[in-house]
């Protein structure tokens, strides 16, 4: 996706999500709700792709940034959401942005001292950082501590989820394809050579972390206002891994691939639920032929991941090696 296409995509996506949101009340609320998850996961995966895919830094702390955004936005709307019904959109938008900014600050804080590390070492530090954030929220009684925080307003809807997904895709694509942004790819492809060419590798890495963390924070805010209840346990290491899986499955540094992987991986477990619910196959009369799927759903899901990784190690949808052209 080059920059011109990114703009078309961005505008198209905005129009599309506005149109769909007009018909939102016609859609089964369960599938509508899953579509919010899809939008949120697209934001998370695409923003992590900037760090892990384009810049080549292995971060395992994305759920931590998400937690910062979720708690910040939730605390703000719980406090100010009731002020004026006409202002609710502004409060929500402000809360999301505040969550994103605070997450970006967290990204900066973790980035500056640690991004001189590489590879496995960086992965471990970001992992530790994500856990620290989680434990901090667990002990912060003002936001409910380990018992979790109820979010009063379920303001996330199709428009917000996909609008922000479009913004994320646009910003990440535009950034990577700008003159400045070529530096990210240079850092990934050969850090020593990039450094020798005068690129400040640390600065690029910190930039990637800050931008990635900002959008993770936005996604966290959207998550909080769609689930309406958040606990520190929801932002654990496994959540970080789930996002990393989307990036790897989609193909590191392949935005379209990552988007499709985010969609597929969100729908897959729910699709398996739907299969388990099939009551009978016309012609072959058996009651609930796939009921065993409901017990083995997560095993099937994991097996599919293993098979995909074995057969498509370069990522599901990467037609070319990378987007570096």
């Amino acid at each position: 996706m080059n920059i011109r296409h990114a703009k078309t995509f961005f505008l198209g996506a905005l129009v599309l999500c506005f149109l769909v949101s007009l018909f939102a009340n016609q859609i089964n609320s369960y599938w509508l709700f899953i579509s919010y998850d899809i939008g949120i996961n697209i934001i998370l995966a695409v923003s992590l792709n900037l760090i892990n895919g384009y810049t080549g830094q292995f971060s395992l702390g994305h759920a931590g940034f998400m937690a910062v955004g979720a708690y910040t936005a939730a605390a703000i709307t719980n406090q100010f959401g009731e002020l004026n019904p006409y202002l609710s959109i502004a409060v929500f938008l402000g809360a999301l942005l505040a969550g994103g900014l605070l997450a970006a600050v967290a990204g900066l804080l973790v980035g500056i001292p640690t991004l001189r590390l590489r590879g496995d070492y960086l992965a471990i530090v970001t992992l530790g950082f994500g856990e620290i954030i989680r434990v901090v929220f667990q002990n912060m009684q003002s936001v409910g501590g380990a018992r979790g925080l109820s979010v009063m307003h379920g303001w996330t809807n199709f428009f917000w989820a996909f609008g922000f997904a479009a913004v994320t895709v646009y910003v990440v694509t535009a950034l990577v394809h700008s003159t400045y942004g070529r530096g990210f790819i240079a850092v990934r492809d050969d850090e020593v050579a990039a450094s020798a060419m005068g690129i400040s590798t640390t600065k690029y890495k910190v930039t990637a972390f800050v931008v990635g963390a900002f959008f993770a924070g936005i996604a966290g805010g959207l998550y909080a206002h769609s689930k309406q209840f958040i606990t520190p346990g929801g932002f654990n290491f496994m959540q970080s891994i789930a996002i990393v899986v989307m990036v790897i499955l989609g193909g590191m540094g392949n935005t379209i691939g990552v988007i499709i992987a985010a969609i597929l991986l969100t729908l897959l477990p729910e699709g398996l639920r739907a299969i388990a619910d099939i009551e009978h196959i016309p012609g072959i009369v058996t009651a609930h032929p796939f009921v065993w799927v409901s017990d083995t759903r997560m095993i099937i899901y994991s097996l599919l991941l293993i098979i995909l990784m074995l057969t498509r190690p370069q990522g599901l949808f990467s037609l070319r090696k990378s987007l570096s052209k």
Partner: protein, 385 residues
């Protein structure tokens, strides 16, 4: 560039087709099965709290089977739709929406963990679907709205129960309280214990705090020993309780310890060992309870699953039974009417005692006191509220 345009297009087509395939769930199911009443259940069948979810699901399933064997409810069979939430935050909100919007259930049963019940509660409230939690003891759960009920007692109640028991049955005068200052559960129990015990004419000899995760309690226990109490109330969780019991015996404290359902775990005795002998705790139910309702339930459960039902199974059973009773009273499965019937429930004879739903939609019911004898939990008595 050409390739990319193609990819965008195919991605869009794929996304839209996936989305549409999701939306087009055949609506035929609903009228094909209109002779049944669909009841939803969400439980942690996998993940970190799988034992709780599986127990409560077994109990719920047994109740549904029993009801169907007795010709169902309102002349229709019940159909239980269970979804696994993987013990994972974020999942309950999704599965409960599925149960309500896609499966079309008329009521929701679940969950054991308060944090996951709290996630589901606003959705049930919004859709006007009654929800009954079997074992979420956090008071906030039923505060989510007037469609949310529970069949277990809430944290503070156990404090009151233990105050009555220690004052009236054990005839204690002077007790010390050792609280986990980090846990709301422990603080709640301690507060209501102290109020109840003092109101009954007892005296609090000493108050000490610890934090969950502590390993050494000798400072607190020495201070308690100096106050010379005739009993120590320890409303904590089993890991610390076991260590506290051990260290108390080492310091020569021989008075009984007692606490709440945080003690109930198969890991308690392996930690505390012989030091726990003769100590007491309150909980929801005991399979040794001699009442016919409990013995009947234990027999049926053993016949079906070949194991002894725990408290979660008993509460799961009661949650389904109380829902069926409310539907019978209401004469319909309409959400608002079932809610009114549930709210008016009085003296419902459940496995876990006589359940009365109070004004805050919490169950007011008896607690069971167990003691530790030869390393086994033994039934002592049932304490009425």
């Amino acid at each position: 560039m050409k390739i990319w345009r193609g990819q965008i297009l195919s991605a869009a087509v794929l996304a839209v087709s996936l989305f549409l395939s999701g939306c087009n769930k055949p609506p035929g199911e609903s009228f094909a099965t209109s002779d049944v009443i669909k009841v939803g259940e969400f439980a942690s069948m996998t993940g970190s709290e799988a034992t709780f979810g599986q127990s409560s699901h077994q109990g719920t399933q047994l109740a549904i089977d029993d009801l169907n064997a007795a010709d169902g409810v309102l002349g229709k069979k019940l159909e239980l739709h269970m979804e696994d939430d993987q013990s994972q935050a974020g999942q309950p909100a999704t599965v409960v929406r599925k149960l309500i919007s896609s499966d079309g259930v008329v009521a929701i049963l679940g969950e054991v963990a308060s944090s996951r019940s709290l996630e589901a509660a606003p959705i049930c409230q919004e859709n006007k679907i009654p929800m009954i939690s079997p074992a979420s003891t956090n008071p906030k759960v039923t505060e989510a709205g007037d469609y949310i009920f529970r069949v277990c007692f809430i944290d503070p109640f156990q404090g009151t129960v233990m105050a009555n028991f220690s004052r009236k049955t054990l005839k204690l005068q002077n007790v010390a309280v050792l609280t986990d200052a980090k846990s709301d559960y422990s603080l709640g129990l301690a507060k209501f214990f102290k109020e109840g015990f003092v109101a009954d004419g007892g005296k609090i000899a000493a108050e000490q705090n610890y934090s969950s995760g502590d390993k050494d309690f000798s400072a607190e226990l020495t201070a308690i020993k100096a106050a010379n109490p005739d009993g120590i109330f320890v409303p904590g969780y089993y890991t610390e309780v076991g260590l506290i019991a051990l260290q108390a015996k080492q310091l020569g404290i021989t008075v009984p310890l007692f606490g709440g359902d945080g003690w109930e775990s198969s890991a308690l005795v392996p930690i505390g060992g012989a030091a726990l002998e003769g100590d007491y705790f309150s909980t929801h139910y005991s399979p040794q309870d001699t009442s016919p309702a409990v013995q009947n339930f234990v027999k049926e459960f053993k016949a079906k699953y070949n194991s002894t039902p725990d408290a979660m199974a008993a509460l799961g059973y009661d949650s389904a039974m109380i829902l069926a009773a409310a539907m019978k009273t209401a004469g319909t499965t309409d959400g608002a009417k079932v809610r009114d019937a549930l709210a008016a429930t009085k003296n419902f004879a459940g496995v876990t005692g006589k359940i009365t739903i109070d004004a805050n939609r919490n169950a007011s019911k008896a607690a069971v006191i167990l003691t530790i004898n030869n390393g086994q939990f033994q039934y002592v008595q049932t304490v009425q509220p």
